[in-house]
Symmetry: C2
Subunit: 347 residues, 2 copies
């Protein structure tokens, strides 16, 4: 007789409980528990017998029951304030990586920049008794702490909390900007312009300031005033138009984002300026699809988002285990050189 549709789709293979395992192995549930968790003092033979019984029955512990007893869920919540985006993903991967290795699962919450949703998610996370929470999101200013007096530790990743005592892991954008400028200087450029995003944007400010400072350290000044605009290719193209029309003498451009840089590359190309011969180019973000689609391929600054996610998760684990860390950790950036800043063979 063929299975009904119902049966086919929902095999009610009611999972075995530890008492069934114990019964099969001929021991008490307590002993079975000890056997499976490597605790207590048991004859190796007994231990093995229990393990085989568990295997045979396809036993998987009931996490709810265990959590109830032990008070730990081996679960952390991850709240992204903006919609899960380009930046959140590497962060998540990194965190998931560090946690997964420690057998901890991640509950994903997308608050969509809505404080109401955020509170709601926080509540459900607490009700699920997560062991800790990672807060992340689009970078801008420091954000207000998600809550105070939480019964679980919280770590902020990428964004930082406005309370300096909270634990945050952020990229050191100044470091990134300095590395970009130094790299351009190292390949012999001296007339460097900086084209970036909106002036009111925190990242734009920080990067611009660090770039100017790095030039200053060599006794140089930017080739033009910092050109603030948007984080888009279109702005990059437009900025090049402005640069060329003013006849500015520029041999390198450091861009506030890869998108801007790509626009710059295109516009330069169309104006018959060779990259990197006439103008060298450095972007920011090291966003694969942008740096690789760019002609020539784009040298860029990598904020190591995965690393930030990983660090945040590690700090969270430490806090969960009773070794809390306070304050901000700034993670250094990495310059990834590509053709847009290649040193050309003398010929």
């Amino acid at each position: 007789m063929p299975e009904t549709l119902e049966e086919t789709l929902r095999k009610t293979v009611r999972a075995a409980t530890i008492s069934e395992v114990a019964a099969l192995a001929g021991v008490s549930t307590g002993t079975a528990s000890k056997a499976l968790n490597g605790r207590g003092s048991l004859r190796p033979e007994t231990r093995l017998r229990v393990q085989q019984a568990a295997e045979q029955l396809g036993f998987v512990v009931n996490g709810a029951a265990r959590s109830l007893q032990t008070g730990r869920t081996y679960t952390v919540g991850m709240i992204t304030t903006d919609s899960i985006g380009r930046f959140s993903i590497p962060l998540m991967i990194g965190a998931e990586d560090a946690l997964g290795a420690g057998q901890v699962s991640v509950l994903l919450c997308d608050a969509r920049d809505d404080p109401i949703r955020e509170k709601y998610y926080l509540r459900t996370l607490l009700s699920r008794k997560v062991d800790g929470i990672i807060v992340t999101g689009r970078r801008n200013q420091a954000r207000t702490p998600i809550a105070t007096d939480l019964p679980v530790p919280v770590v902020y990743a990428f964004i930082s909390s406005s309370d300096p005592r909270d634990c945050s892991v952020v990229p050191d954008e100044s470091d990134g900007a300095r590395k970009a400028v130094r790299h351009l200087l190292a390949i012999g450029r001296r007339r460097i312009a900086h084209i970036t995003g909106p002036e009111h944007h925190h990242s734009a400010q920080v990067r611009a300031a660090a770039a100017i400072e790095a030039l200053g350290a060599e006794g140089l000044r930017p080739a033009t005033d910092t050109m603030y605009g948007e984080w888009s290719e279109a702005w990059g193209r437009q900025a090049v138009g402005m640069l060329l029309s003013t006849g500015a003498d520029v041999d390198a451009v450091f861009c506030g984002s890869d998108q801007i840089a790509r626009g710059v590359a295109e516009a330069l190309r169309e104006a018959d300026r060779d990259v990197p011969r006439d103008v060298a180019l450095v972007g920011f973000d090291n966003w694969d699809v942008m740096v690789e689609g760019c002609r020539p391929q784009l040298t860029s600054i990598d904020m190591d988002l995965e690393g930030i996610g990983r660090s945040a998760a590690e700090l969270l684990l430490a806090a969960i285990n009773g070794e809390p860390v306070q304050g901000q950790r700034a993670q250094l950036c990495r310059l990834v050189p590509r053709a847009s800043t290649a040193v050309l063979a003398e010929s």
Copy 2:
């Protein structure tokens, strides 16, 4: 006396339990439970008193205890087989959306295309007693079912299971390709080429076949043989080179991806062919950063990944509630017209 660092970071605000709430409200725990869950028959006044007590103590139920009792966790697992990527994210957002509204949380698992990790995650999901599982990942062939005889329902999103009885939600790529071709026909193009990804790639095949068929329906044939290559801008540029050097007479190109299309647009531009006047262009994926960075902005086919994620979640919820659905659901695509297929004013 100032707080110790320990105190500051880990306010051990031991969460209140329902018995404390009950005590404060002067009722038994059973009654308190009924009051908070809107069950049983209680005087409205009592109910209110309990609710206020809960409020006052900042009570949040212990999900573990509840799950243990009710057997439901209001949690589903989401396994992505490839690393969380560009496609997985909208799917996740969609799923999270549909589930979040139903108060269900998502446990995120990134199996990184590694069967071992996949098994491991599956096991932890089962141990966490998730109510259901969504499997997703990079699209290619149908994948082997993640397991059989699971105690919980499974829905495949974007990818499909090779067992036709499993429930899968996939994009109707043929529909997308047909819509692209019909759109080009509708704006008066007749000599249409198709440039796409690797020939061995399932999506490339399906889209190409549907495109040819849609042309055939109008008694037309493609302007050239389908041009298989890679899913990259570089291939798009290269393909245009080939097209132009053979002197093929083409007034539109349908591309298998937005990246290819963008490469095509650039190469055409550099060859002084106007888009859309000389050659109209349609991409596939409707990937914001590609379609918007393209000059002119790119008409593209949107597979509605969020919608697929949402449908998958809804089907999963239905299955959890005892109304399982079998088989594949194909979700239609949407054409998003932009400047690359604009009809020009006669002038």
